[in-house]
Amino acid sequence: MLELKGIFKTFFPNTPNEVRALRGVDLRITPGSWVNIIGTNGSGKSTLLNATAGTFPLDQGEIILDGNRITRWPEHRRAKLIGRVFQDPFSGTAPSMTIAENLALAARRGQARGLGFALRTGWRNDLRDRVAAMGLGLEDKIEKPMDTLSGGQRQSITLLMAGLVRPSLLLLDEHTAALDPKSADKIIELTGKFIAENQLTTIMVTHSMQQAANFGDRIIMMHQGSICHDISGLQKSRVRASDLIAKFDEVRRSDQLDESVADMLRSNYV
């Protein structure tokens, strides 16, 4: 269970560059549910994800994950509970280390990672099985350095790393956006399978209306730092990508309703 209560965040306050990125977000995510976050550029969707991960301190509000008040926890401490996959396939892994070494590091997430850890044969076989289960044929490459892999292959390994120690929460930050369409399809399918098998509580930020409509069980649409639509249940199962695009258009239309229009409507509408 993740609870976000009254989250506020303003970047560069009291300067000309002030950005009121989050303006009072309340969100409650039940265990095992998969929430997709959509919104226009600058709507606050990635900021919300980073606020949850602890990338910066909040101005106001509280974050509770599985009963832990993590609001003041630093990012590395939250990482014990939170798995993340980033947009950039080059983030989140150690490029010069091998796949097996990266996975071994991930397997010890939240534990002390001293110099004493090593890749034992038992582990190695277990990791090989897990990689094989993804069906990408990467099991023969686990001794190769990460930087020899393609973007799609890296994202699949990162995904596996994020779930190796079952996290309380999985954060996916447009993790298919930097991939070619074919790899993106492959990764999102893999993501769906992976989340279902491990029953992970997931927040996915995406620009793809198709992904938002086809995957997950709830859609949050953000606009100007707050939640403007919350689609779940039956409504979510019926929603099509075109409906979501129509909602964006609606938001765009309502943005054009400024003071001068409001004055006109005051004297003309009712």
Binding site: A246, D249, E250, R253, S260, A262, M264, L265, R266, N268
Partner: protein, 425 residues
């Protein structure tokens, strides 16, 4: 395939050359629709230079014939090439499609049986060209005004009362309210309403949802629950077909209604308009909360929560079904009607109120149209897309913008001020 159009009188000849396959059939269909929209209802197709026709091409010809015939027009093909003639014979479409140009003689305009037109004439007011069809008027039209718009806006009561108003075949109306009664829906799911000839439609809470509607059937008559609104009962004795003298120019709704009133010598009128839209400008209520928050409901950003309006023209080349009331003597109108009406021009005595239901484009046949059967077919065969309160957007910074029409039909009837009743809570 290439399409060359030539016209003589009211006959449009389309010369096709090349291969009439599936790809070209799309082009052909568009070309037919465009021509019908431009008012060509007699079309002769020359197939002399068509060296190949597929079933897709044949289908496009049959569909074009059907569309033009439903507009009471005339459609045929002639001069087929050897290959096309053979295909037409084998498919037995020859007799249906081929006409001799000599048989395609001066088309006799057929008055429809449903409307007994007693007089017909042409007129021009400003740049609006009109063809006016009249039937003898019977009973004068009645008008009832429900609720009070101004009282609602300044409402001090937390609960607004609604008026259940039924809409049978001979009634027309517009207002703010709901199809479902307040108690049934629980929450106040109010919106803009449009009622024409036994149909009532209501705007959806957001522009991405579909409007709802109810239609007279058997013993059932739809009821609208008005917060405020107007109902007109009776018959229209005049039908005015209109278009702008410049085919590239557009007619605003206010301009059209004022021209029709001027031509008919009417001071206060009820009207229904069916028109090919050039672009509509209107607002939709998402939900009602003015009663609770009063004036501050119109402040930004609060207004965005309950009212949807965008200062852009929408629905170009759609069919609009518009209902409205207008007067040229605002000061002498009953007060409830006064607060229902908004300025139509800079002259504060000229006021009106119009709502529109929007449908996918459908060509209107020439001359007379039976409003009731047209509207019922529209609801049954087409999909209603939006219901709007049409607004004349006048702001000091941006000037004046309004809904614009291309051409269409306007039914208009005088309202005698003595026949206006106010129904308050």
């Amino acid at each position: 395939m290439e399409i060359v159009k030539n016209s003589s009188g009211d006959l449009l000849e389309m010369q096709l050359s090349g291969s009439f396959d599936n790809e070209s059939s799309v082009h052909f269909r568009e070309s037919i629709e465009e021509s019908a929209r431009a008012g060509w209802h007699r079309i002769l197709v020359d197939l002399g230079n068509v060296d190949y026709i597929s079933s897709a091409g044949l289908g496009a010809l049959v569909a074009a014939r059907k569309n033009i015939l439903t507009l009471n027009g005339q459609f045929g093909v002639h001069n087929p090439s050897a290959f096309v003639a053979k295909v037409l014979m084998l498919t037995k479409l020859h007799d249906m499609l081929i006409v001799a140009p000599s048989d395609f003689h001066e088309f006799e305009t057929q008055a429809t049986t449903t409307l007994d037109v007693s007089s017909q004439r042409s007129a021009r007011v400003g740049s609006v060209e009109m063809e006016i069809f009249s039937v003898p008027s019977t009973e004068p039209m009645k008008c009832s005004i429900f609720g009070d718009a101004k009282a609602l806006q300044n409402s001090s009561t937390s609960k607004s009362t609604s008026h259940g108003v039924s809409f049978g075949y001979d009634s027309y109306g517009l207002g703010l309210g709901a199809l479902a009664s307040q108690s049934a829906s629980g929450e106040n799911q109010y919106g803009e309403l449009v009622a024409v000839s036994g149909t009532v439609s209501q705007s959806a809470p957001t522009s991405s949802q579909l409007p709802d509607y109810s239609i007279v059937r058997g013993e059932f008559t739809p009821t609208a629950h008005f917060l405020y609104g107007a109902k007109m009962e009776g018959h229209f004795s005049s039908l005015i077909r209109f278009n702008h003298s410049d085919p590239e120019a557009r007619i605003t709704v206010s301009e059209l209604v004022q021209c029709c009133m001027q031509e008919q010598g009417i001071r206060t009128a009820a009207c229904v308009i069916l028109a090919d839209c050039a672009g509509l400008l209107g607002a939709q209520m998402k939900h009602w909360n003015i009663a609770d928050s009063g004036e501050s409901a119109f402040s930004v950003p609060r207004i965005r929560d309950w009212l949807s309006y965008c200062p852009e023209h929408f629905h170009q080349h759609k069919l609009a079904l518009i209902v409205g009331v207008a007067t040229l003597d605002h000061a002498t109108m009953p007060s409830a009607l006064q607060s229902f009406l908004r300025p139509l021009s800079g002259n504060s005595q000229q006021t009106g109120h119009f709502h529109a239901a929007v449908f996918p484009y459908r060509a209107l046949k020439k001359r007379t149209i039976d409003l009731q059967s047209f509207v019922h077919d529209l609801f049954e065969e087409s999909e209603i897309q939006e219901v709007l309160h049409l607004l004349r957007d006048v702001r000091p910074t941006t000037g004046e913008t309004e809904s614009e029409l291309q051409s269409g039909a306007c039914w208009i009837e005088p309202i005698d001020p003595s026949r206006i009743t106010e129904v308050s809570a």
